[in-house]
């Protein structure tokens, strides 16, 4: 069970928007995270390593929080490891096939009124809510 943390949600959401906005305004890049990660593990060969630097920045920030405030992260695993592996595979395959995730479709795409992103976001939110609500017991 977690509690509503409105201030943290607003500050965190603003930082995420700032991150995506910097990439867009500085270099015209839409930094959807599934695309960024796919570009790191499976380089597009465009000779541009910005995605790797982006991931490095993410991990570096995470390390700061892990050292300064370990409670930032969940202590134990959310679910049994086979289910975690299944879910990871689905998330990797699905975001690649659908061309985006929570940040790419849900933030970048929706905010520019992309119809594809509207459909994708509607589908993944609906399926995620249904899944978590129906089988939520599996994950906790």
């Amino acid at each position: 069970m977690t509690e509503f943390t409105p201030i943290h949600a607003i500050v965190g959401g603003a930082l995420i928007a700032l991150s995506l906005s910097i990439m867009l305004i500085a270099s015209g890049r839409i930094a959807g995270l599934s695309g960024v990660i796919a570009g790191v593990v499976h380089p597009f060969g465009d000779g541009d390593h910005w995605r790797a630097w982006f991931v490095l920045g993410m991990v570096a920030a995470g390390l700061v929080f892990e050292v300064a405030a370990p409670a930032t992260f969940d202590a134990g695993g959310p679910a049994s490891l086979p289910i975690v592996a299944l879910a990871g595979g689905l998330v990797g395959f699905g975001t690649r096939l659908g061309g985006g995730c929570t940040s790419g479709h849900g933030l970048c795409g929706l905010s520019r009124r992309s119809l594809r992103s509207l459909v994708a976001t509607g589908v993944f939110f609906a399926v995620a809510v249904a899944t978590a609500t129906l089988v939520g017991g599996v994950s906790r």
Partner: protein, 137 residues
Amino acid sequence: MTAWIALVAGALFGAGACISGMVRASKVLGFLDLRSSWDPSLALVMVTALALQVIVWRVVARMRAPVFGGRFPGPPAKTIDRSLVVGAGLFGLGWGLVGYCPGPAVVSIVSGARASLVFVAAMVAGIWLCDLIKPRH
């Protein structure tokens, strides 16, 4: 592209994911699982970021080119195909099962939790599998 910009932007994303609590699968599930004592934090994260992004796209519309070169993306594609819907559905299934989406999952590996490491390894395998079946580059 300047590596430093991407590094700083990545750090801001990581900090945002940490501060908002979205790196905790339990907190994400607190939103997605309607039977729990519902935690609307995720929605507020999304709404805040969306509102700011809408403003940023308006700024971009008035700019000729990105500050450090390159060009802005063209208008979004409009084709709603099976890949989009099936892909989004599979992603939603995985997200709803354990509460990790790609960005926060990668940030959470620094905790060393086995669930994070297994999730990200499987996610990478899923990306590779999709590219194997449906090459796009």
